[in-house]
Structures are given as C-alpha cells and as structure tokens.
Subunit: 140 residues, 4 copies
Amino acid sequence: MNKVVLIGRLTKDPELKYTPGSGTAVTTITLAVDRRFSKDNQREADFIPVVIWGKSAESTAQYMSKGKLMSVAGRIQTRSYEAKDGGRRYVTEVVAEEVKFLEWGNKTQGQNGGFAGNDEPGYGASFDDMTPIDDGDIPF
Amino acid sequence: MNKVVLIGRLTKDPELKYTPGSGTAVTTITLAVDRRFSKDNQREADFIPVVIWGKSAESTAQYMSKGKLMSVAGRIQTRSYEAKDGGRRYVTEVVAEEVKFLEWGNKTQGQNGGFAGNDEPGYGASFDDMTPIDDGDIPF
Amino acid sequence: MNKVVLIGRLTKDPELKYTPGSGTAVTTITLAVDRRFSKDNQREADFIPVVIWGKSAESTAQYMSKGKLMSVAGRIQTRSYEAKDGGRRYVTEVVAEEVKFLEWGNKTQGQNGGFAGNDEPGYGASFDDMTPIDDGDIPF
Amino acid sequence: MNKVVLIGRLTKDPELKYTPGSGTAVTTITLAVDRRFSKDNQREADFIPVVIWGKSAESTAQYMSKGKLMSVAGRIQTRSYEAKDGGRRYVTEVVAEEVKFLEWGNKTQGQNGGFAGNDEPGYGASFDDMTPIDDGDIPF
DNA sequence: TTTT
DNA sequence: TTTT
C-alpha cells in the first residue's frame, strides 16, 4: 500500500519532455503544499517533486502554470542515480496516478486563459488515463 | 492537503534518538513498500524514509525490528541540508502521524517476542499520540 | 487505519447547528464527487454525507454555499438510529478532520463574496483546529 | 478525488456471488475498523461495508474469513434502492480498488490454513487486477 | 545502504 | 446484524 494525496501550487511552469525510447510524455513539477502548523506563525510549505506520465503530462503542460492550484493522487517512488561527483544520490518523489486542475491558466494564454472551460473558474478537470508506461527513465 | 498511507517492512532495526534540545524521542526508519506492477516480473519495492516522533518513536523502537510489517499514515515533508562537500542536499521523507504494528517482535526478544500481547500474533496496535513537537531538528 | 480524502461540490447550502449539550458547532453537508469512469459517458457523481465539527463547521457555514468546491480529509464513521417506522437505519458518513475551501462565496454575500480574501479567487484556506468534541450526538 | 484507505477485520466470512448479467465475481464484506479515540475508554469500531469486484472478490472469499485483518484502498460510492416498505434507502459503501491480506486463513481450511504461503504468517498479498466491471448491480 |  |  502506497498512497499519496496532495493539493498544492506549481513552483514553476511545467516542462514537458518525451522519453528517448518510446516517446512517452512526462512532466516533472514541484508542488508547494502549505503546512498546517508552523513553528512560528509564518507561512511554511513543503516542496514536493511530482512526476506525471502520459496524457496527463501533456494536459498539465497545457493547462497549468506557475502558481496554479492542482491536486495529485499517486504513490511515492524512490530511485537513485549517479551524481556528477561520482556519489550516489537518492530521490524520493511522487508519481501521479490522477491529477485535477483546481485553477486554470497557461502563461502563454495570459493569466486567465483563452480556452474553453475557462469561463467556469475553478470548475476543475480530471485526467486519469495515466498508466505509467515506465519504459524508460525520466529523461532529465 | 498532504496525506500519505504506507504499508511496508522495516529494512533495518529502528534506532531511537532524542533531540538535543527538548529531548523529544525520534526514530527514523526506512519502509520497503512493494510495488504493484514491475517492468519485468521480479519483485520490486520503494524504500521510503519515515520519521516518527514522540511516544510512537519509542513504541516503534521497542516493538519493531528489521523485516516486520507496519503501516504509517502521515505527510510528506521536504527539507534540505548542507552536505560535507558543501553542496545542498534535498530530502523528501514521510513524517508519521499514526502508526500501526501489523507484525510484532523485537530482535532482542527473539523472533517472536517475549512480551504481553505477542500471544495474539498480528493483533495490531495503534499509536497516535504523536503531536510532532518539532522543536529541534532531527539529530542525525 | 481509516482515511478519506474527497474533493467535491456542496449539493446545498450548509446549515450550521449546535449540539444541545455543550453547544458544539456542527454542520452536515453532502459533497457531489465526480466519478472517474462512468458506464456510458454521462457525468456521474457520488453524493457523500460529511459531518464537520467545531470551528470548521462555522467556517464552512460562513464561506461555503451550494455548488462551491472544497476538499475534506477525514474518516468514515458508521452509526445507526431508530427510524420513525421503528426499523433500524444504518448510516455511513465522513467525519471531517481537515477542510480546505477551493472556491469561496456565501449565498448571502452574493455569488462572489464581499469579504476579504475573495479578491484572490481559489486562493484556498485550511481549517484544521477540528478536534471532534464528540460530546453529544448530531442534533438532527 | 475520492480516496479511502482502511485496515480492519472482517465481521463475518465473505460470501462470493456473481452478477446475473456477465457473471462478474463480487464479494461484500464489512470491516470492523478500530477508532483511535473513544468517548470513554472502551474499544470502539466503525463497521464499514466494502464491495470487492473481480479476481479480488474471489481471492478474498478464498483466503479471508471472519476476524482476519486486511487492508483496502478504494473509493466511497453512494447508491439508493427501493426498500420493501416502498421507501428509498441510501447506501454509502467503499468500493475496493486494491486489497492486501494481512492475516490468512479460511474457515474451511482450519484456523491457520493449509495452503502454500501460509507458512509465512503475515507475509501479505496484494490483489489489484480489479477493474470494476460495473456491468450490473450488486446481486443482493 | 535495503524488506518478505 | 458486527471484528480482535
């Protein structure tokens, strides 16, 4: 059992890539998720790396941008890679199985859109056809 | 919103520490969580670091050992620290808010126990009095 | 372990009540949660009863209204009561432990508000000081 | 978003049925899930109805029995039906998407088994090939 | 650096 | 109608 649910805001615009092998779409984003209690009273957040595969990777790149709010359901994945200094680095990230856009708007379309569906702010959308075709590694 | 649920096995015996400041108990474990689908058909797992605070940290150290099965509900936390080579390292880990022991047995008690409650194998136990008194940093 | 996360829209305006005993605030709402796959392709939803206690009950009554989007984290609770026909009825509902408002606006304030914070649509807000002071039964 | 995770014990032996239409396997169980805090200090539980479809329905019927511990990940579903007295009844239940057996043993096999895998008590097993082929209604 |  |  390995279940995660997050609601948070993109720390940057998503960047869409494709695996060298099969050309599967993949987007890696970081979600800023507000913490409920903070030591002092200043706003605090966790910055959680999220990998999105397939059609949802493309939707995220198309409809989301820096600062927008979205939810992710998925699982935690760990992997390691060799760093440039020769040392091994261990990565813990969330792999999305379901995403929902809670605010819309891509930078290239202006702050608030220019596409159908945007008239209903916060309407939300689900993309879940996301069988992680884990055929290659993340290309970055 | 930041919610995680895991069921997995300890990769090593838990090691209990106390924060230098307030002496709060803290245990860091790694859970091996089986993946549902693997590329080929060999067994695969994610190795997820989990931090447990307070009374639950002590219970985990007391009742759990390498290989035992437990569940954790909590949240994902990110932090960074300065590595010995001067570079910044980013850590993503789970902070437990609720733990449940699905198998019992501490190494020092033999494989299958030697304490009350062990007669009922797999009975389970919850420890949830785990207000993360985040008063210092993790002492390691 | 008993964990639930929902994102959905209120099917009606929330109605705030107080327990006869200790006067604890309580709101019961129904969330319409879209299903991901439907038999045919028409929109389908589950209508999930949610009980909210304490300060969050008051916040929900104040800031939410029919059609607004919110998230709830909590647990499933079952209870039974005697129906008017003498038969026993069994109720399964969600008890909120954390709520987040993903869209704002109370009916009495017009569709889009009239209170601070509304300028940032979809900004979101968390209320989690929700120790369920389960001192009486739900007064309805 | 509609996510549920439960760990609990079967209140009765599971009973396997097949839909009249396509003959899909389906099992309905009730899980007794311990509450974390109770008013007084007596043990309390929620009794949560869970519907399991497909191959997992068959596995549950085969390997689980009254009192055994299992985990379920899934979603909350609501439906209504006409009662014998003509009134409408509303049902809220969990539909399993993933099940894991935390204790083994089918009644017909004796308390502790008689099948391979049972030698390793609490080893656990996942069944997740559970595309809910929602082709008919639950046949009971 | 990994568990059954 | 409930489990350990």
